[in-house]
Symmetry: C2
Subunit: 227 residues, 2 copies
């Protein structure tokens, strides 16, 4: 290691490099898992210190996730009209979360390995748009089959095929949305000089949850409730 | 590197070690993000190959997540009686997911760094039970405040304070449950010789989603619907 004028300051051994890689991996893992990095030994760290770090993070996520209540409350009329719609909410929003974190993980690693750079965003966007449509059609087909099998008691006065179509279209649209958001955010974060790994964080998952609810009920309004 | 009889087979350089560390990190990241590890360069890999790997994983998750529909459908009477209950479902289940992945991340790293072993499970369980209660009380308090502010139009004929109490107790119970499951699974997987990182996988999140729904509506039945 040398300073700006090339005087030798010290030697970085390969062991040092491995230490840094392991330390960074721990920090990354903690951040992805939603906890302020804790440097101390897990069982020996003070209970209050660990609680403060964990509760701070969980509380922020919880407050963000309160937006799902606000979003659902704004569609309360739709839910009251067709109660069966509310039963598919976790399925629809988890589709966005899963497809989003899959895309974010792939792009974040491709960035880390130098396989893509933020300048490649057009190629990545085209690739992930096509991928999101292909993935969405597959999941939408499974969703259609399951919703078509909804028991009569749960279905109420809703039309079986319109409900199945609503679920299929919503799942496909949310999968496409999650894939594109998950793929673009790491590139945008990297461009802004922010750690692209943040794109896999639970905050982005919460954002995808809330937008997923809006997509789902907007489609339901058009297909199921306009008649 | 030597064989069983101590004949030299070759030399492992520090570079090789770093290569392996980086490769393993990529595999781990892919697995955590819910995708079968892809070894090829991201943009150069065949579209169909990547689609097959991604859709396989997402479809499995989607089918698993269909259980949330089955669980909710079994509580359909409760939802029909108090529609406001359905508006808090994403909030309640995300609490389990977030607290679970936080605990799983901390324990998985502590295992990797040798700070805990599966034999320490009693200490970890005691620690995380106490932590889960502390975290749950905090989140439950926030949930109580938000639910107490539910607009009258959304509330319907439900009692405001009983609804708030239901949300608070459910959030606290689900947070405790998520924390304990998230902390114990990496130890169990490690003991069984399975990669403890699997505990952070979306499959565990799906399990916590479904059990969270059952906890939530069981509490709602006792507190809100028994009268």
């Amino acid at each position: 290691m040398v300073d700006d004028e090339h005087h030798i300051l010290g030697i970085i051994t390969h062991d040092d490099v491995i230490d840094v890689v392991v330390e960074e991996a721990t920090e990354d893992a903690h951040r992805m898992g939603g906890v302020v990095p804790i440097a101390e030994n897990f069982l020996e760290a003070g209970f209050f210190t660990v609680w403060r770090k964990r509760t701070g993070w969980l509380s922020c996520l919880f407050v963000a996730e309160l937006l799902t209540f606000t979003a659902l409350a704004s569609f309360e009329n739709a839910i009251a009209a067709v109660v069966a719609l509310s039963l598919f909410v976790p399925l629809c929003i988890s589709t966005g979360g899963n497809s989003g974190s899959q895309a974010a993980t792939l792009i974040t690693r491709a960035l880390a390995l130098g396989q893509v750079t933020p300048r490649d965003w057009r190629r990545v966007l085209r690739h992930e748009l096509l991928m999101g449509v292909s993935l969405g059609l597959t999941l939408g087909a499974i969703g259609f089959l399951r919703a078509a099998l909804t028991p009569k008691s749960v279905l109420g006065n809703a039309d079986r095929w319109l409900l199945a179509l609503t679920i299929a279209e919503s799942v496909a649209a949310i999968c496409l949305w999650g894939t594109v958001v998950g793929a673009m955010l790491p590139l945008i974060f990297k461009r802004l000089g922010i750690d692209p790994g943040i794109a896999s964080s639970p905050f982005v998952a919460t954002f995808v949850d809330v937008t997923g609810i809006v997509i789902y009920f907007s489609i339901a309004r058009v297909l199921l409730l306009s008649g």
